[in-house]
Symmetry: C2
């Protein structure tokens, strides 16, 4: 008998209420109980905040958990649902994918009630949480293997109006980078599924590498800015200070801007994220460590660009991604988005 | 038939020569060929430099590989043997331990010729490389899960004179931190085995977290300083710039200075490495994520101290280490080491 996902409490209860989202058990593991915080202040925007979609990106669960401490006091209207860890199995294992079935939760939406555990999580989130929200903040990071700035990311969205509104929402975080990222692996993403339902979906990418205290404060400030923009809390939005600067810019990157490893070996980064580079500048060096004769190979920028993401020094396979270059959002695209945005009544 | 570890070339060849250290195959895997660089400029100090002892600490292999580019020109005397990856299986898997047998190479010295692959690597290094050196630099880092400064570490050594000489050698790196670290898990360490042979063994701990370009330059400068101190290369030693400062200090930490997680959950760091804290200051917060009722738990400093290492935001189990506090080396110990050091003719 297939059990169905359910909530252990009534989320319509006014004020703060807590309980679990129950993901039914199956042949591979027992039922999962995901702690959930419901902040219900009546009419207004309906926001879902999720962390721990990928288990080695701990920035999201920590920021989500911190929100629970102050948001109930600060929220003036609307509803916020916070699930700090939507994939606790992966978080506990510190792995991107769920260890039990090896699946990437962010490629399994909308999931399946009778699938393996990752599919069942996606199904429970899709069926019970997504319908309760108009806007979703899914809190990711680039994980421990990358140097990446505090950013909010959106992939191109076919619906021009939703694209324009999503970019505007992403920029409301006022993080150092908002990135419009062309990507060819979007099937089954939580983003893609939420967009199909016409939801505003913002994917935060809260840096990469070490999850440190200063960076966490920046990420939390970004979420607060977005809550202010949604009018869920009162206050002023302000760019957080990052590397002694308060700035925020929108970048774009194409599939062809991803640099790949030219060989198997150890990648040595020669740049940091947000470095500006010119054609021919060395981004990193690939050391083929198995060989005594193969020399080290320089990996260079093809054009003037900004290093958006750069791989941590690590063993990489041939054609593995080692850097993502970017450039400022072009004026034509910006004008197009602005026009689309104005078509929607506020 | 047990095969024996061997070298594919004659390391006594003058100048630069390259070849492999062959670790014999066994029931668990085929023979391993570890690329090895021998820099032989005749009489003088004999130094062995190893990286990749732990496979998720890539700073060592990168710095070792970079040395191969400039040291042959710069070296004026003596012999340097460089093995960038002594455990390539772990490096390729980005794991601390060897994936095939699950063993920690740095707890398997002196190894065993008929043991599993990790034991065979330790045996090959102990038998063929260690005897050729008077001094060993084993290049580690704190790995991706920690915020840790560029440092050289030594555990207390029973032989007072070797202790004093080791500390002096460690300080010659002029990295921001030299750490005298009381530790209760030293059996089978490469350090311990080398000390038994009366060798000077320096364990570099090249930071933690993301392996980035700026940090790598600091680590390489540290190794160059040590090579200058050994008189293998000419030049001046200079503290590398770290966080806008050129400084170097020696700290000590006791077993009781290690902070453990008070519960299972997500650790949120509230400090950065090298922050100075007073009694009662919050080092981090433990969020028990499984529970709706258990509140977050503050983890505080017991006394005035310096945060030497702090765990990245991560899921931790009960009693898992989350921070290491330290304080400056006390004057009495310093005076004792200075006295011991003077007993040895230069």
């Amino acid at each position: 008998m297939i059990q169905v996902p359910h909530l252990t409490f009534d989320m319509d209860t006014p004020g703060v209420s807590t309980g679990h989202l129950v993901v039914p058990g199956g042949a591979d593991c027992e039922a999962l109980l995901l702690p959930l915080f419901s902040l219900n202040k009546g009419e207004g925007p309906r926001l879902l905040i999720t962390g721990g979609n990928h288990g080695n990106e701990l920035q999201g669960p920590i920021v989500a958990r911190r929100l629970v401490d102050w948001l109930p006091e600060a929220q003036t209207c609307g509803r916020v649902i916070i699930v700090p860890e939507i994939n606790p199995l992966a978080v506990q294992a510190w792995t991107r994918n769920t260890p039990i079935d090896g699946k990437n939760l962010n490629r399994e939406f909308p999931g399946s009630a009778d699938g393996s555990v990752t599919e069942r999580i996606a199904d429970a989130v899709s069926r019970l949480l997504l319908p309760m929200a108009d806007t979703v903040f899914d809190l990711h990071s680039f994980g421990p293997k990358w140097d990446f700035p505090p950013a909010v990311v959106t992939h191109p969205i076919a619906d021009s109006n939703l694209m324009a509104r999503t970019l505007r929402m992403a920029e409301a975080f006022k993080l150092p980078v908002t990135l419009l990222w062309e990507h060819d692996d979007t099937l089954g993403m939580f983003d893609t599924w939420a967009h199909r339902q016409g939801k505003l979906f913002v994917c935060a990418e809260f840096g990469g590498g070490t999850v440190g205290s200063e960076a966490l404060a920046i990420y939390e400030a970004g979420v607060r800015n977005a809550l202010v923009a949604l009018q869920l809390v009162k206050g002023n939005a302000d760019c957080p200070t990052f590397r002694q600067q308060k700035s925020s810019r929108t970048l774009q990157t194409l599939l062809s801007d991803a640099l790949k490893s030219p060989s198997r070996g150890i990648f040595e980064p020669r740049c940091s994220s947000l470095d500006e580079v010119k054609q021919g500048d060395v981004i990193g060096v690939l050391h083929p460590m198995d060989s005594l004769s193969a020399g080290s190979i320089k990996i260079c920028a093809a054009t003037t660009s900004i290093v958006c993401a750069i791989r941590s020094g690590a063993h990489v396979e041939l054609n593995e991604g080692v850097a993502i270059l970017a450039r400022p959002l072009d004026d034509e695209r910006r004008a197009h988005f602005d026009l689309e945005y104005q078509k929607v009544p506020e």
